[in-house]
Protein backbone atom coordinates (compact mmCIF):
# COMPACT_ATOMS: atom_id res chain seq x y z
CA UNK A 1 0.00 0.00 0.00
CA UNK A 2 1.54 3.28 -1.13
CA UNK A 3 0.04 5.89 1.18
CA UNK A 4 1.63 8.85 -0.62
CA UNK A 5 0.04 7.72 -3.87
CA UNK A 6 -3.31 7.21 -2.13
CA UNK A 7 -3.18 10.69 -0.61
CA UNK A 8 -3.06 12.17 -4.12
CA UNK A 9 -6.60 10.83 -4.61
CA UNK A 10 -7.92 13.03 -1.77
CA UNK A 11 -7.85 16.73 -2.73
CA UNK A 12 -9.00 17.84 0.73
CA UNK A 13 -5.93 16.38 2.43
CA UNK A 14 -3.82 19.03 0.73
CA UNK A 15 -5.60 22.08 2.13
CA UNK A 16 -4.50 24.18 5.05
CA UNK A 17 -6.39 24.90 8.25
CA UNK A 18 -5.46 27.95 10.30
CA UNK A 19 -2.33 28.26 8.17
CA UNK A 20 -1.19 24.72 8.97
CA UNK A 21 -1.40 21.60 6.79
CA UNK A 22 -4.60 19.74 7.63
CA UNK A 23 -4.19 16.60 9.70
CA UNK A 24 -7.58 14.90 9.53
CA UNK A 25 -8.16 12.53 12.44
CA UNK A 26 -11.95 12.63 12.60
CA UNK A 27 -12.50 9.68 10.30
CA UNK A 28 -14.89 7.93 12.67
CA UNK A 29 -17.26 10.89 12.18
CA UNK A 30 -16.89 10.97 8.41
CA UNK A 31 -14.25 9.81 5.98
CA UNK A 32 -12.85 11.94 3.18
CA UNK A 33 -13.82 11.44 -0.44
CA UNK A 34 -11.42 10.41 -3.22
CA UNK A 35 -11.60 12.04 -6.68
CA UNK A 36 -12.85 8.76 -8.13
CA UNK A 37 -16.03 9.11 -6.05
CA UNK A 38 -16.33 12.87 -6.58
CA UNK A 39 -16.01 12.30 -10.36
CA UNK A 40 -18.78 9.69 -10.26
CA UNK A 41 -21.14 12.25 -8.73
CA UNK A 42 -20.12 14.95 -11.20
CA UNK A 43 -20.48 12.56 -14.14
CA UNK A 44 -23.98 11.56 -13.05
CA UNK A 45 -25.19 15.16 -12.98
CA UNK A 46 -23.36 16.08 -16.16
CA UNK A 47 -24.33 13.08 -18.26
CA UNK A 48 -27.34 11.06 -17.13
CA UNK A 49 -29.26 12.75 -14.31
CA UNK A 50 -32.80 11.35 -14.47
CA UNK A 51 -35.37 9.72 -12.26
CA UNK A 52 -34.97 5.98 -12.00
CA UNK A 53 -37.23 2.95 -12.44
CA UNK A 54 -39.96 4.90 -14.20
CA UNK A 55 -38.86 6.50 -17.42
CA UNK A 56 -38.60 4.73 -20.75
CA UNK A 57 -36.12 7.25 -22.03
CA UNK A 58 -32.38 6.67 -22.32
CA UNK A 59 -31.24 8.86 -19.45
CA UNK A 60 -33.63 7.17 -17.05
CA UNK A 61 -32.45 3.74 -18.22
CA UNK A 62 -28.81 4.70 -17.77
CA UNK A 63 -29.45 6.11 -14.31
CA UNK A 64 -31.45 3.03 -13.31
CA UNK A 65 -28.73 0.71 -14.60
CA UNK A 66 -26.01 2.57 -12.69
CA UNK A 67 -28.09 2.65 -9.50
CA UNK A 68 -28.89 -1.06 -9.69
CA UNK A 69 -25.28 -1.91 -10.60
CA UNK A 70 -24.29 -0.12 -7.42
CA UNK A 71 -26.76 -2.20 -5.42
CA UNK A 72 -25.07 -5.30 -6.83
CA UNK A 73 -21.65 -4.01 -5.86
CA UNK A 74 -22.91 -3.56 -2.30
CA UNK A 75 -24.46 -7.02 -2.37
CA UNK A 76 -21.15 -8.50 -3.51
CA UNK A 77 -19.09 -6.52 -1.00
CA UNK A 78 -21.16 -7.69 1.96
CA UNK A 79 -21.85 -11.10 0.37
CA UNK A 80 -25.64 -10.87 0.57
CA UNK A 81 -27.54 -13.73 -1.08
CA UNK A 82 -29.70 -11.37 -3.18
CA UNK A 83 -29.39 -7.81 -4.48
CA UNK A 84 -32.95 -7.11 -3.31
CA UNK A 85 -31.81 -7.69 0.27
CA UNK A 86 -29.90 -4.40 0.00
CA UNK A 87 -32.15 -1.41 0.72
CA UNK A 88 -30.80 2.05 -0.03
CA UNK A 89 -31.39 4.45 2.86
CA UNK A 90 -30.17 7.89 3.81
CA UNK A 91 -27.74 6.33 6.25
CA UNK A 92 -27.36 4.17 9.33
CA UNK A 93 -29.87 6.12 11.42
CA UNK A 94 -32.51 5.86 8.70
CA UNK A 95 -31.80 2.13 8.33
CA UNK A 96 -32.25 1.55 12.05
CA UNK A 97 -35.47 3.53 12.02
CA UNK A 98 -36.90 1.40 9.22
CA UNK A 99 -36.40 -1.69 11.35
CA UNK A 100 -37.53 -0.12 14.63
CA UNK A 101 -40.68 1.30 13.02
CA UNK A 102 -41.52 -2.00 11.40
CA UNK A 103 -40.96 -3.73 14.69
CA UNK A 104 -43.60 -1.55 16.33
CA UNK A 105 -46.17 -3.80 14.71
CA UNK A 106 -44.35 -7.04 15.51
CA UNK A 107 -43.88 -6.52 19.26
CA UNK A 108 -46.28 -6.97 22.11
CA UNK A 109 -46.28 -6.04 25.80
CA UNK A 110 -43.73 -8.08 27.73
CA UNK A 111 -41.38 -8.66 24.79
CA UNK A 112 -37.75 -7.79 25.35
CA UNK A 113 -35.05 -6.10 23.32
CA UNK A 114 -31.36 -6.21 24.12
CA UNK A 115 -28.89 -3.41 23.40
CA UNK A 116 -25.23 -3.03 24.39
CA UNK A 117 -23.76 -0.44 26.73
CA UNK A 118 -21.42 0.61 23.92
CA UNK A 119 -24.02 2.04 21.59
CA UNK A 120 -24.25 5.33 19.74
CA UNK A 121 -27.41 7.33 20.52
CA UNK A 122 -28.79 6.43 17.08
CA UNK A 123 -28.84 2.78 18.15
CA UNK A 124 -30.47 3.59 21.52
CA UNK A 125 -33.10 6.27 20.95
CA UNK A 126 -35.17 4.59 18.16
CA UNK A 127 -35.48 1.47 20.36
CA UNK A 128 -36.44 3.49 23.43
CA UNK A 129 -39.17 5.11 21.34
CA UNK A 130 -40.23 1.65 20.19
CA UNK A 131 -40.44 0.42 23.79
CA UNK A 132 -42.58 3.39 24.76
CA UNK A 133 -44.92 2.62 21.89
CA UNK A 134 -45.19 -1.12 22.44
CA UNK A 135 -44.60 -1.74 26.14
CA UNK A 136 -41.55 -3.87 25.35
CA UNK A 137 -38.58 -3.80 27.73
CA UNK A 138 -35.06 -2.65 26.88
CA UNK A 139 -32.20 -4.64 28.48
CA UNK A 140 -28.57 -3.55 28.39
CA UNK A 141 -25.45 -5.71 28.05
CA UNK A 142 -22.97 -4.08 30.45
CA UNK A 143 -19.31 -3.39 29.68
CA UNK A 144 -16.19 -3.58 31.82
CA UNK A 145 -13.51 -0.98 32.54
CA UNK A 146 -11.61 -1.88 29.35
CA UNK A 147 -14.67 -1.08 27.24
CA UNK A 148 -15.42 -4.76 26.52
CA UNK A 149 -18.94 -6.22 26.68
CA UNK A 150 -19.47 -8.75 29.46
CA UNK A 151 -20.73 -11.77 27.54
CA UNK A 152 -21.77 -13.77 30.61
CA UNK A 153 -24.19 -10.95 31.45
CA UNK A 154 -25.51 -11.03 27.89
CA UNK A 155 -26.33 -14.71 28.24
CA UNK A 156 -28.32 -13.98 31.41
CA UNK A 157 -30.42 -11.38 29.57
CA UNK A 158 -31.43 -13.75 26.76
CA UNK A 159 -34.73 -15.58 27.11
CA UNK A 160 -37.73 -16.66 25.06
CA UNK A 161 -39.03 -13.11 25.60
CA UNK A 162 -36.10 -11.66 23.61
CA UNK A 163 -37.25 -10.58 20.16
CA UNK A 164 -34.34 -8.52 18.88
CA UNK A 165 -30.72 -7.84 19.83
CA UNK A 166 -28.95 -4.80 18.39
CA UNK A 167 -25.28 -4.13 18.85
CA UNK A 168 -22.70 -2.17 16.96
CA UNK A 169 -19.89 -4.14 15.41
CA UNK A 170 -17.42 -1.46 16.55
CA UNK A 171 -17.99 1.20 19.20
CA UNK A 172 -17.70 4.72 17.79
CA UNK A 173 -16.49 6.20 21.06
CA UNK A 174 -13.90 3.58 22.01
CA UNK A 175 -13.18 1.52 18.90
CA UNK A 176 -13.94 -1.80 20.65
CA UNK A 177 -14.70 -4.62 18.20
CA UNK A 178 -17.63 -6.57 19.62
CA UNK A 179 -17.85 -10.38 19.31
CA UNK A 180 -20.81 -10.23 16.96
CA UNK A 181 -20.47 -13.85 15.79
CA UNK A 182 -21.14 -15.07 19.34
CA UNK A 183 -23.81 -12.43 19.94
CA UNK A 184 -25.70 -13.54 16.82
CA UNK A 185 -25.40 -17.26 17.58
CA UNK A 186 -26.66 -16.90 21.11
CA UNK A 187 -29.57 -14.68 20.05
CA UNK A 188 -30.61 -17.16 17.38
CA UNK A 189 -30.59 -19.91 19.98
CA UNK A 190 -33.60 -18.18 21.60
CA UNK A 191 -35.14 -17.31 18.20
CA UNK A 192 -34.38 -13.60 18.47
CA UNK A 193 -33.32 -11.54 15.45
CA UNK A 194 -30.11 -9.50 15.43
CA UNK A 195 -29.35 -6.10 13.96
CA UNK A 196 -25.68 -5.18 13.63
CA UNK A 197 -24.76 -1.51 13.29
CA UNK A 198 -21.77 -1.51 11.00
CA UNK A 199 -21.31 2.26 10.74
CA UNK A 200 -17.94 2.13 12.50
CA UNK A 201 -16.78 -1.29 11.38
CA UNK A 202 -17.50 -1.22 7.65
CA UNK A 203 -14.47 1.00 6.85
CA UNK A 204 -12.14 -1.40 8.66
CA UNK A 205 -13.65 -4.90 8.71
CA UNK A 206 -15.50 -6.48 5.80
CA UNK A 207 -18.68 -8.12 7.03
CA UNK A 208 -19.93 -11.27 5.31
CA UNK A 209 -23.62 -11.16 6.14
CA UNK A 210 -24.24 -14.77 5.12
CA UNK A 211 -21.34 -16.16 7.12
CA UNK A 212 -22.44 -14.06 10.09
CA UNK A 213 -26.00 -15.26 9.54
CA UNK A 214 -27.07 -11.78 10.67
CA UNK A 215 -30.70 -10.70 10.19
CA UNK A 216 -30.06 -6.99 9.66
CA UNK A 217 -26.83 -5.12 8.97
CA UNK A 218 -26.73 -1.35 8.52
CA UNK A 219 -24.07 1.18 7.55
CA UNK A 220 -23.47 4.59 5.96
CA UNK A 221 -21.52 5.36 2.80
CA UNK A 222 -19.89 8.48 4.23
CA UNK A 223 -17.77 6.43 6.61
CA UNK A 224 -16.54 4.44 3.63
CA UNK A 225 -15.18 7.23 1.42
CA UNK A 226 -18.64 7.72 -0.08
CA UNK A 227 -20.91 10.78 0.08
CA UNK A 228 -23.20 11.75 2.96
CA UNK A 229 -26.94 11.11 2.82
CA UNK A 230 -26.74 7.54 1.55
CA UNK A 231 -26.47 4.25 3.37
CA UNK A 232 -27.87 0.79 3.41
CA UNK A 233 -30.03 -1.65 5.24
CA UNK A 234 -29.25 -5.27 4.59
CA UNK A 235 -31.96 -7.64 5.69
CA UNK A 236 -32.37 -11.35 5.13
CA UNK A 237 -35.10 -11.86 2.58
CA UNK A 238 -37.29 -13.61 5.16
CA UNK A 239 -36.78 -10.79 7.70
CA UNK A 240 -37.54 -8.03 5.20
CA UNK A 241 -40.66 -9.80 4.01
CA UNK A 242 -41.94 -10.01 7.58
CA UNK A 243 -41.09 -6.36 8.35
CA UNK A 244 -43.92 -3.90 7.61
CA UNK A 245 -42.95 -0.92 5.39
CA UNK A 246 -41.88 2.32 6.99
CA UNK A 247 -42.87 5.10 4.63
CA UNK A 248 -45.62 5.22 2.07
CA UNK A 249 -45.20 6.87 -1.31
CA UNK A 250 -44.21 6.30 -4.90
CA UNK A 251 -41.96 3.42 -5.87
CA UNK A 252 -42.91 1.24 -2.88
CA UNK A 253 -46.29 0.15 -4.25
CA UNK A 254 -47.47 -2.57 -6.61
CA UNK A 255 -51.01 -1.32 -7.08
CA UNK A 256 -52.86 1.66 -5.65
CA UNK A 257 -56.60 2.09 -5.44
CA UNK A 258 -58.44 4.11 -2.84
CA UNK A 259 -59.62 0.88 -1.29
CA UNK A 260 -56.26 -0.82 -0.92
CA UNK A 261 -52.63 -0.54 -1.87
CA UNK A 262 -50.46 -3.58 -2.29
CA UNK A 263 -46.79 -3.17 -1.61
CA UNK A 264 -44.06 -3.70 -4.12
CA UNK A 265 -41.54 -6.49 -3.85
CA UNK A 266 -38.18 -6.04 -2.22
CA UNK A 267 -36.24 -3.79 -2.25
CA UNK A 268 -38.83 -1.23 -3.40
CA UNK A 269 -41.15 -1.92 -0.45
CA UNK A 270 -38.71 0.11 1.67
CA UNK A 271 -37.64 2.66 -0.93
CA UNK A 272 -40.54 5.10 -1.13
CA UNK A 273 -39.99 8.26 -3.17
CA UNK A 274 -37.16 9.38 -5.41
CA UNK A 275 -33.95 8.26 -3.73
CA UNK A 276 -30.51 9.84 -3.53
CA UNK A 277 -29.56 8.51 -6.95
CA UNK A 278 -26.16 10.18 -7.30
CA UNK A 279 -25.33 9.08 -3.76
CA UNK A 280 -26.40 5.51 -4.43
CA UNK A 281 -24.19 5.31 -7.51
CA UNK A 282 -21.29 6.95 -5.67
CA UNK A 283 -21.66 4.44 -2.82
CA UNK A 284 -20.75 1.71 -5.32
CA UNK A 285 -17.82 3.77 -6.61
CA UNK A 286 -16.57 4.17 -3.04
CA UNK A 287 -16.64 0.39 -2.49
CA UNK A 288 -14.76 -0.05 -5.77
CA UNK A 289 -12.14 2.39 -4.54
CA UNK A 290 -11.68 0.67 -1.19
CA UNK A 291 -11.65 -2.82 -2.69
CA UNK A 292 -9.05 -1.71 -5.21
CA UNK A 293 -6.75 -0.92 -2.29
CA UNK A 294 -7.91 -4.01 -0.40
CA UNK A 295 -9.68 -4.26 2.94
CA UNK A 296 -6.95 -6.47 4.39
CA UNK A 297 -4.19 -4.06 3.38
CA UNK A 298 -6.22 -1.23 4.88
CA UNK A 299 -6.73 -3.09 8.17
CA UNK A 300 -3.05 -4.02 8.44
CA UNK A 301 -1.92 -0.44 7.74
CA UNK A 302 -4.41 1.10 10.18
CA UNK A 303 -3.26 -1.33 12.84
CA UNK A 304 0.26 0.11 12.43
CA UNK A 305 -1.10 3.64 12.86
CA UNK A 306 -3.03 2.59 15.96
CA UNK A 307 0.00 0.95 17.58
CA UNK A 308 2.24 3.93 16.82
CA UNK A 309 -0.30 6.44 18.12
CA UNK A 310 -1.12 4.44 21.25
CA UNK A 311 2.57 4.11 22.15
CA UNK A 312 3.24 7.80 21.46
CA UNK A 313 0.26 9.01 23.49
CA UNK A 314 1.06 6.74 26.43
CA UNK A 315 4.47 8.40 26.71
CA UNK A 316 2.81 11.73 27.49
CA UNK A 317 2.38 12.17 31.26
CA UNK A 318 -1.26 12.38 32.37
CA UNK A 319 -2.76 10.82 29.25
CA UNK A 320 -5.43 8.22 29.92
CA UNK A 321 -6.78 6.14 27.04
CA UNK A 322 -10.37 4.92 27.31
CA UNK A 323 -11.23 1.60 25.73
CA UNK A 324 -8.32 -0.81 25.68
CA UNK A 325 -10.07 -3.84 24.25
CA UNK A 326 -7.72 -6.42 22.74
CA UNK A 327 -9.73 -6.12 19.52
CA UNK A 328 -10.14 -2.52 18.44
CA UNK A 329 -10.10 -0.41 15.31
CA UNK A 330 -7.89 2.63 14.72
CA UNK A 331 -9.67 4.86 17.21
CA UNK A 332 -8.14 6.37 20.34
CA UNK A 333 -10.33 8.07 22.89
CA UNK A 334 -8.31 9.84 25.55
CA UNK A 335 -8.11 12.60 28.12
CA UNK A 336 -5.25 14.46 29.72
CA UNK A 337 -5.37 14.66 33.49
CA UNK A 338 -6.97 17.89 34.66
CA UNK A 339 -7.69 19.28 31.18
CA UNK A 340 -11.12 19.43 29.56
CA UNK A 341 -11.26 17.64 26.18
CA UNK A 342 -12.84 20.73 24.64
CA UNK A 343 -9.76 22.81 25.51
CA UNK A 344 -7.45 20.29 23.88
CA UNK A 345 -9.62 20.05 20.77
CA UNK A 346 -9.65 23.84 20.40
CA UNK A 347 -5.88 24.16 20.55
CA UNK A 348 -5.32 21.18 18.24
CA UNK A 349 -7.66 22.80 15.70
CA UNK A 350 -5.57 25.96 15.84
CA UNK A 351 -2.60 23.77 14.94
CA UNK A 352 -4.41 22.25 11.95
CA UNK A 353 -5.36 18.98 13.61
CA UNK A 354 -8.97 17.84 13.36
CA UNK A 355 -10.08 15.58 16.21
CA UNK A 356 -13.48 15.08 17.75
CA UNK A 357 -14.18 16.14 21.32
CA UNK A 358 -17.24 15.60 23.46
CA UNK A 359 -19.41 12.64 24.32
CA UNK A 360 -19.43 11.26 20.73
CA UNK A 361 -23.20 10.69 20.92
CA UNK A 362 -22.51 7.90 23.40
CA UNK A 363 -23.34 9.49 26.73
CA UNK A 364 -23.88 6.17 28.55
CA UNK A 365 -20.21 5.33 27.94
CA UNK A 366 -19.07 8.73 29.26
CA UNK A 367 -21.31 8.24 32.31
CA UNK A 368 -19.70 4.87 32.92
CA UNK A 369 -16.26 6.48 33.10
CA UNK A 370 -17.71 9.56 34.85
CA UNK A 371 -16.13 11.97 32.38
CA UNK A 372 -17.67 14.85 30.39
CA UNK A 373 -16.22 13.48 27.18
CA UNK A 374 -12.96 12.57 25.52
CA UNK A 375 -10.67 13.67 22.73
CA UNK A 376 -11.04 11.13 19.95
CA UNK A 377 -8.47 10.65 17.22
CA UNK A 378 -9.62 8.20 14.56
CA UNK A 379 -7.37 7.13 11.72
CA UNK A 380 -7.89 6.08 8.16
CA UNK A 381 -5.70 4.39 5.56
CA UNK A 382 -4.77 7.79 4.06
CA UNK A 383 -3.27 9.02 7.33
CA UNK A 384 0.43 8.70 8.06
CA UNK A 385 2.83 8.05 10.92
CA UNK A 386 4.20 11.59 10.34
CA UNK A 387 0.72 13.02 10.92
CA UNK A 388 0.47 11.16 14.21
CA UNK A 389 3.80 12.65 15.25
CA UNK A 390 2.44 16.11 14.35
CA UNK A 391 -0.58 15.46 16.57
CA UNK A 392 1.62 14.37 19.47
CA UNK A 393 3.75 17.48 19.07
CA UNK A 394 0.62 19.65 18.96
CA UNK A 395 -0.80 17.87 21.98
CA UNK A 396 2.35 18.58 23.98
CA UNK A 397 2.02 22.24 23.03
CA UNK A 398 -1.63 22.25 24.08
CA UNK A 399 -0.84 20.67 27.42
CA UNK A 400 1.86 23.26 28.03
CA UNK A 401 -0.64 26.05 27.37
CA UNK A 402 -3.49 24.55 29.34
CA UNK A 403 -1.84 23.19 32.46
Amino acid sequence: MDVQKIRKDFPILHRKVNGKPLVYFDNAATSQTPVQVIDTIVEYYQKYNANIHRGVHTLSQEATDAYEASRQKIQKHFNAAHAHEIIFTSGTTHSINIVSNGYAELLKQGDELIVSALEHHSNIVPWQMLCEKTGAQLKVIPMNEDGVLIMSEYEKLLSEKTQLVFVNHVSNALGTVNPIEQIIKKAHAVNAEVLIDGAQSAPHIKADVQALDVDYYVTSAHKLCGPTGIGMLYGKQSALKRLPPYQGGGEMIAEVTFEKTTYADLPHKFEAGTPNIAGGIAFGAALDYINHIGMEEIAAYEEKLLIHATAALMKIPGVKIYGIAPQKTAVISFNVDGIHPYDIGSILDKLGIAVRTGHHCAQPIMDYYQIPGTVRASFSFYNTIEEIDLMVEALNKAIQMLQ
Binding site: N18, I339, H340, Y342, D343, S346, I347, K350, T357, G358, P372, G373, M401, L402
Partner: protein
Protein backbone atom coordinates in the same frame (compact mmCIF):
# COMPACT_ATOMS: atom_id res chain seq x y z
CA UNK B 1 -18.10 52.43 36.31
CA UNK B 2 -16.96 52.67 32.72
CA UNK B 3 -19.43 52.20 29.89
CA UNK B 4 -19.67 48.90 28.07
CA UNK B 5 -18.00 50.45 25.04
CA UNK B 6 -15.10 51.72 27.12
CA UNK B 7 -14.50 48.28 28.64
CA UNK B 8 -14.67 46.69 25.21
CA UNK B 9 -12.12 49.15 23.82
CA UNK B 10 -9.87 48.44 26.75
CA UNK B 11 -10.01 44.70 26.02
CA UNK B 12 -9.40 45.25 22.32
CA UNK B 13 -6.33 47.31 23.19
CA UNK B 14 -4.99 44.64 25.52
CA UNK B 15 -5.40 41.95 22.88
CA UNK B 16 -3.78 44.11 20.20
CA UNK B 17 -0.45 43.68 21.98
CA UNK B 18 -0.27 40.07 20.80
CA UNK B 19 0.90 39.02 17.35
CA UNK B 20 -0.37 35.47 17.16
CA UNK B 21 -3.28 33.33 18.24
CA UNK B 22 -1.23 31.46 20.78
CA UNK B 23 -0.46 34.56 22.82
CA UNK B 24 -4.09 35.64 22.55
CA UNK B 25 -5.27 32.27 23.82
CA UNK B 26 -2.74 32.35 26.63
CA UNK B 27 -3.98 35.79 27.64
CA UNK B 28 -7.58 34.61 27.49
CA UNK B 29 -6.68 31.70 29.77
CA UNK B 30 -5.05 34.22 32.14
CA UNK B 31 -8.22 36.30 32.16
CA UNK B 32 -10.17 33.16 33.03
CA UNK B 33 -8.24 32.95 36.27
CA UNK B 34 -9.56 36.35 37.36
CA UNK B 35 -13.19 35.39 36.70
CA UNK B 36 -15.50 36.32 39.60
CA UNK B 37 -16.45 32.79 40.60
CA UNK B 38 -20.03 31.73 41.06
CA UNK B 39 -20.96 30.60 44.59
CA UNK B 40 -21.10 26.79 44.76
CA UNK B 41 -24.81 26.84 45.71
CA UNK B 42 -25.61 28.45 42.34
CA UNK B 43 -23.69 25.79 40.40
CA UNK B 44 -26.90 23.97 39.56
CA UNK B 45 -28.19 22.24 36.44
CA UNK B 46 -30.58 25.16 35.93
CA UNK B 47 -27.73 27.63 35.72
CA UNK B 48 -25.83 25.71 33.04
CA UNK B 49 -25.84 27.44 29.68
CA UNK B 50 -27.14 25.11 27.01
CA UNK B 51 -25.28 24.76 23.75
CA UNK B 52 -21.78 24.50 25.13
CA UNK B 53 -19.65 21.36 24.90
CA UNK B 54 -18.11 22.29 28.24
CA UNK B 55 -20.18 23.29 31.26
CA UNK B 56 -20.70 27.00 31.92
CA UNK B 57 -22.61 28.22 34.94
CA UNK B 58 -23.73 31.83 35.24
CA UNK B 59 -25.48 33.63 38.05
CA UNK B 60 -26.63 37.26 38.24
CA UNK B 61 -27.42 39.54 41.18
CA UNK B 62 -28.85 43.02 41.17
CA UNK B 63 -26.85 45.63 43.11
CA UNK B 64 -28.63 48.96 43.14
CA UNK B 65 -29.69 49.11 39.53
CA UNK B 66 -26.71 47.25 38.11
CA UNK B 67 -26.27 43.58 37.27
CA UNK B 68 -23.35 41.70 38.78
CA UNK B 69 -22.43 38.41 37.15
CA UNK B 70 -20.49 35.47 38.51
CA UNK B 71 -19.66 32.31 36.55
CA UNK B 72 -17.50 29.24 36.19
CA UNK B 73 -16.65 26.62 33.58
CA UNK B 74 -15.00 23.22 33.59
CA UNK B 75 -12.94 24.10 30.49
CA UNK B 76 -10.35 26.84 30.76
CA UNK B 77 -10.72 28.36 27.29
CA UNK B 78 -14.44 28.64 27.91
CA UNK B 79 -13.69 30.13 31.31
CA UNK B 80 -11.59 32.77 29.58
CA UNK B 81 -14.40 33.57 27.16
CA UNK B 82 -17.02 33.95 29.86
CA UNK B 83 -14.55 36.01 31.93
CA UNK B 84 -14.20 38.47 29.05
CA UNK B 85 -17.97 38.68 28.61
CA UNK B 86 -18.53 39.24 32.32
CA UNK B 87 -15.89 41.92 32.45
CA UNK B 88 -17.85 43.70 29.71
CA UNK B 89 -21.35 43.20 31.05
CA UNK B 90 -20.98 43.14 34.82
CA UNK B 91 -21.80 46.28 36.88
CA UNK B 92 -23.95 47.63 34.07
CA UNK B 93 -27.58 48.65 33.89
CA UNK B 94 -29.85 46.04 32.20
CA UNK B 95 -30.70 48.58 29.47
CA UNK B 96 -27.04 49.06 28.63
CA UNK B 97 -26.53 45.30 28.48
CA UNK B 98 -29.46 44.86 26.15
CA UNK B 99 -28.29 47.62 23.82
CA UNK B 100 -24.67 46.48 23.70
CA UNK B 101 -23.24 44.92 20.57
CA UNK B 102 -20.43 42.41 20.74
CA UNK B 103 -18.34 43.31 17.69
CA UNK B 104 -15.27 43.49 19.90
CA UNK B 105 -15.08 39.68 19.89
CA UNK B 106 -14.14 39.86 16.23
CA UNK B 107 -11.57 42.57 16.94
CA UNK B 108 -9.75 40.52 19.57
CA UNK B 109 -9.26 37.67 17.12
CA UNK B 110 -11.84 35.31 18.53
CA UNK B 111 -14.14 35.58 15.55
CA UNK B 112 -14.25 31.82 15.06
CA UNK B 113 -15.98 31.52 18.43
CA UNK B 114 -18.85 33.70 17.22
CA UNK B 115 -20.23 31.09 14.87
CA UNK B 116 -23.57 29.89 16.23
CA UNK B 117 -22.65 26.32 15.34
CA UNK B 118 -19.43 26.47 17.32
CA UNK B 119 -19.65 23.99 20.16
CA UNK B 120 -18.37 26.39 22.82
CA UNK B 121 -21.59 28.33 22.75
CA UNK B 122 -20.26 31.90 22.92
CA UNK B 123 -23.48 32.96 21.24
CA UNK B 124 -25.48 31.09 23.87
CA UNK B 125 -23.47 32.80 26.61
CA UNK B 126 -24.21 36.28 25.26
CA UNK B 127 -27.87 35.34 24.90
CA UNK B 128 -28.00 34.10 28.49
CA UNK B 129 -26.41 37.29 29.87
CA UNK B 130 -28.94 39.33 27.93
CA UNK B 131 -31.76 37.13 29.23
CA UNK B 132 -30.70 38.02 32.77
CA UNK B 133 -30.82 41.68 31.75
CA UNK B 134 -34.38 41.28 30.48
CA UNK B 135 -35.45 39.46 33.65
CA UNK B 136 -33.97 42.07 35.99
CA UNK B 137 -35.21 44.95 33.89
CA UNK B 138 -38.74 43.77 34.59
CA UNK B 139 -37.92 43.74 38.30
CA UNK B 140 -36.60 47.31 38.16
CA UNK B 141 -39.74 48.57 36.49
Amino acid sequence: METINAVQEEIVEEFSMFDDWMQRYEYMIELGKSLPLIEPKYKTEDNIIKGCQSKVWVHADLKDDKLVFTADSDAIITKGIIAILIRVFSHQHPDAILEANTDFIDKIGLKEHLSPTRANGLVSMIKQLKMYAIAFKTQLN
